[in-house]
Symmetry: C2
Subunit: 224 residues, 2 copies
């Protein structure tokens, strides 16, 4: 993909137009394009600070993982989204580890964290932007916590299948049980057991690598 | 309690010394002292924006609650702590509801959200402070999520009892099963069942309103 870095930064960073020429040059020079393939890990606890990540193309998943390999998805990033949580050098107070993985081949613009922080520290408009993005992320993570604590897994799987159905505009959802488990912070065994119950109750049919929704009303009842 | 508002703001808001005289006066005039008793709700989804809350004395608990009355503690606030999440008028992007309740009689300094936001919007030092506090809160909430998703309830209750033991410096912990449930995002029934198992395994003894730790090494083994 051919990306014009300058026009991308200009179009997608709300604060860019408020930067001085010097600051614009600084951000421009401190950023570079990287291409990633499906499944690749962009950032993890084993990698050092990757800086600010802008998604020019593709789709990413941010998740937490446990030592035993369990995962939970925190949020997804789509075209023109920005990820600041992968930048521990900008976010000095973050004491946890997140992972960032490619779900659709991606072109990313990475802004070096150290240079970004220099601009951040002296520009009100950048501070304001960062505060807003951080507040949004806090909201999203509160939402995940709320789901995990207050809703049964039955409810959450139904909700998940219904969402996928509307997102993909299809009653056949191509997804593995493990992927659902990793999104919802559960284990593959538990998800498979629950899906089998859904199948027994004639809510879904399962095939090799896909789940077919046969009774969406029934699934919706489980989310009441 | 006699609180000198000006010296309190000066001593406990890291950005206060960087404000202009006009901004200092603005924050001073927009803040007032409120006294709260144990158990009182300072802020909830049914109350409008309460502004920035500074704890001059006492202890508060921030928690989320479900429609069915289930709760999970997000963090606690102690003397000189600040709560920004209760200020939806400053935090326009927060789309969830938290509750703030008094755990020890409290004297609070409340800064009106609207005025605070005016200073925030034009002062780099205040922005910087807010970003830092928000990052910290994000970390704390990620930690809660990690606990809930990746650790068994057995592990979490053991960990909870051990922490209380060290915090209170006593092997007798005066707490109800419901309070533990509300902290951990579980139900009283589930907590009681698990504590009975702990008692049967000679890890604890239970009395009226208290839990006595009899085998802390055994509890620690459950947290491995």
């Amino acid at each position: 993909m051919n990306i014009n870095k300058e026009s991308y930064l200009n179009d997608n960073l709300p604060f860019f137009k408020n930067l001085s020429e010097e600051e614009k040059t600084m951000i421009y020079n401190a950023s570079h394009i990287e291409e990633y393939k499906l499944g690749e890990l962009i950032y993890s606890k084993y990698k050092s600070c990757s800086g600010i990540v802008l998604v020019a193309k593709g789709q990413l998943r941010a998740f937490m993982s446990s030592l035993s390999g369990k995962e939970i998805t925190l949020f997804r990033l789509f075209q023109n989204d920005i990820c600041i949580l992968s930048s521990s050098c900008v976010y000095q107070n973050l004491s946890y580890d997140i992972n960032l993985q490619v779900e659709e081949d991606a072109s990313l613009i990475i802004i070096d964290g150290k240079f970004f922080k220099e601009v951040l520290d002296r520009n009100l408009s950048v501070q304001n932007f960062m505060l807003e993005v951080t507040q949004n992320k806090l909201s999203e993570i509160m939402w995940v916590l709320e789901q995990v604590v207050f809703f049964s897994l039955e409810h959450r799987i139904s909700d998940y299948l219904i969402n996928e159905h509307y997102l993909k505009n299809s009653s056949e959802i191509y997804i593995t049980h493990e992927a659902i488990a990793n999104d919802l912070g559960s284990s593959r065994e538990v998800i498979s057991r629950m899906l089998k119950r859904f199948e027994k109750d004639n809510l879904i049919e399962m095939g090799r690598g896909y789940i077919k929704i046969v009774d969406i009303k029934g699934l919706k009842l489980l989310c009441k």
